[in-house]
Each structure stands twice: as structure tokens, then as C-alpha cells.
Symmetry: C2
Subunit: 186 residues, 2 copies
DNA sequence: AGGGTATCGTAACAGTGTTACAGCGGTAGC
DNA sequence: GCTACCGCTGTAACACTGTTACGATACCCT
């Protein structure tokens, strides 16, 4: 589907504001009606981009190997999280902050989007089972890691990281500090 | 300025998509041209809302008292951060994620917006001076606390917090864990 | 070969931000 | 008191957006 590809490129380069149906149709060489017969409108097209973005996102996360050290696995997952976001920055807000006006993820697509976080959940569960994390609901420390990664990446994408900080090193340092706070003292 | 007030209400209730100049002008009883002679366009009006939002945000943060326990101060600041965001949720994305298409915070307004984080910076500096935090750049642990708070709040606002978690309790727990990870062991 | 369905193009409608133009008001200078 | 000016306002238009009704086309299946 050339429309979807072109829409992804257009959104990744020019941003959400430049994603207009006429522009899109003109680039591909068709008319705006094609979008309606193939997808059903602009929100439906963005929905397709949404699941595509989460597929790539899930691939990045599934690519980090699972070791016998759940803590280090979580760190690596956090680094992969940021790499995925920085790979195409304009796709990130489509997933987690509503950038395109008409589109909001419905219940179904939202659930299968969260499936991309499975490696994170499993690492946390393994950590709790191994006793390196306290006996709290796994979703809580998942939200902790996810929230920190999302917040840091989101702030970085919006240009809120101070210049005196090396983004790579600071991000990893922050991740490790957060995780250290969850470790139950041996 | 009734236009600004009405714009704030409209944005806080109906969201960014409903903030149209014609709608706004009709509600106040004037014409769209008023926005151009008074502000200079829609982005300029949103800019005004941006600084207004940061003023309120700064007030929430300045309202938490400073004690001799920098760690606890940071927790209270984090709680105030979330309270401020939940007070009018639609104003939060205006500050930290670009919701309104035409508007992006320029350098000047972005700098004075960050001034709202002053209490956070001071608490971190006090913590480093007191030896409860390690001797790292203050901006790093600031970014850590800010990133976590922003990420958690952002995810909550987008409906990504699992139902089995009590949002209030989980948020505070996550904040405390993160801060514990920064504490240098006595 | 014929019929049905999916897709596409043209044109229009409603809505948006923006701007040129004209009119009104008040205010400063003489 | 008159006049000229300047800020503010409304009307109307332009260019753009998403959306849809209507025909026409092409393709696939029977």
C-alpha cells in the first residue's frame, strides 16, 4: 500500500501538520477518495499508522535478548525504547500523545498496542520472582520504568534536555538510578 | 481579556480540536479579526495560553513549603506536579507536547517557562549539598524527577494506567522508589 | 460474456486560519 | 472646536482542510 508508506514518510519528515489527504494523494498520484474507499477516512488511516508504529516499537523491544539478570534486561529494554523513539521521532507522538486531531486509539487497538510492552512485563515478573524486586503488583514497577522512559524521551523530543547533559549517558544513568530504587536490599 | 479566558475554558473543556477562531469569536460576541489585532494570530494566542499555563503550574509548585528534608520536598513537589496537571488536563499538553498545530514555543518563552521548575532545582541542589544525593550535575537528577513525573502524568492523561492500580498511591510509590535510587547509602 | 463489487476521479459542501479593505471610535495637536 | 491620525472592528474573500454524493471505470467471479 503506497498510501500508507507515503503517509509514514510524510509524517516522519514533515510532522503531523503536513499530513493532508490532498498532499498525500497528489504525492502518490491518486485522489483523496482513495483514502476513503481503502481506509475510511483520515482517522482510520492514522489508526493504521498507529498499529504500524507499535509493530516497529515492539520489534525494537523484542530484539533485546533475555538474560538471567532481570535488572540489566530492564536497562537494555529502556535503551531500546529510546532508540526506537529516536529512529523516527514524529511517529512517537502518534503512539503516546494524540498528535493528529481526529484520531484517538479505540479500545481494541489500544490493547494490542500494549502487547508491545510484553518484554518489559516479563522482565519485571522475573525480577519479582527472583526476589530482586519487592512483592508489589508487577504493573506498578512496569509503570515506573515505562513512565520514566516515556517521560525522558518525550522531554528530549520536545527539546527540554539541558545542553550540558550528554543525552545518551544521562538517560542511562537515570534509568539505572530508578531501577536501583526498586531493588530490595540484599 | 475575555478572549483569553474563553479560549482557556474552551481548550480545557472541549480540547485543542475545538479551539477555532470562529467559535471563539462567536462565543465572546466579536469577530475573528479581533484575535489578529490583539494577538497576531492563533499561534500567538496559544502562546499566551502557554505562558498562562506555566504561571499556574509554577504557582502549584511554589505552594509546597520547603523543609529541611530535600528528599521529602521532592516527593511533595512531584505530587503537586500531578495535581497541577489533573486540575485542567487539556492545558497540560499545551505546555509539554505540541497539541495545537501552528504553535511551537520559541526560545524566549520556553526559557521563562522552565523557570517554573525552580523549586525542583533548588530542592535537588539542597539535597546534593546535604550529601543525600551523589555529586552529579543537579540537572541530571532534576531531569530524572521531572521525566518520571511527566511520563507518569502523560500516560495517565492518555488512559494508559492499568485499572488494578490506584493512581494516587501508585504514583507516589513510584516517585519514592525513584528517589530512593538516587540516595547515597549512609 | 455478463453482473456485481470495489475502487477511483470530479465536483461540491462545510469548516478552518488568514488577510485585504473599509468603517468606526477615540485621542493628540493645533 | 476642528482635524488628522491610529487602534480596533466587521465583512468578505482566499487558500486550505476533511468529507461525501455521484458517475465512471476496472476487475473478478460465475
Amino acid at each position: 500500500m503506497r498510501l500508507l508508506d507515503r503517509a509514514g514518510v510524510l509524517l516522519s519528515t514533515k510532522g503531523a501538520g503536513a499530513l493532508s489527504l490532498r498532499r498525500l494523494a497528489a504525492d502518490v498520484g491518486t485522489s483523496t477518495t482513495a483514502v476513503y474507499s481503502l481506509f475510511g477516512g483520515k482517522p482510520a488511516l492514522v489508526r493504521e499508522l498507529f498499529v504500524e508504529a507499535f509493530h516497529r516499537f515492539g520489534s525494537h523491544l523484542r530484539a533485546v535478548p533475555r538474560t538471567d539478570d532481570p535488572g540489566e534486561d530492564l536497562i537494555q529494554l529502556g535503551l531500546a525504547y529510546r532508540r526506537s523513539a529516536l529512529a523516527d521521532p514524529h511517529l512517537y507522538p502518534v503512539m503516546f500523545t494524540n498528535t493528529v486531531p481526529g484520531f484517538e486509539p479505540d479500545e481494541q487497538v489500544g490493547q494490542e498496542a500494549l502487547a508491545a510492552l510484553t518484554p518489559l512485563i516479563e522482565a519485571v515478573r522475573a525480577g519479582i520472582a527472583a526476589g530482586v524486586f519487592p512483592d508489589v503488583p508487577a504493573t506498578m514497577v512496569v509503570m515506573s520504568c515505562w513512565g520514566l522512559a516515556h517521560g525522558m524521551v518525550s522531554l528530549e523530543l520536545n527539546g527540554y534536555v539541558p545542553e550540558e547533559l550528554d543525552p545518551d549517558a544521562a538517560y542511562e544513568r537515570v534509568l539505572r538510578a530508578n531501577l536501583a530504587g526498586w531493588r530490595v536490599p540484599a
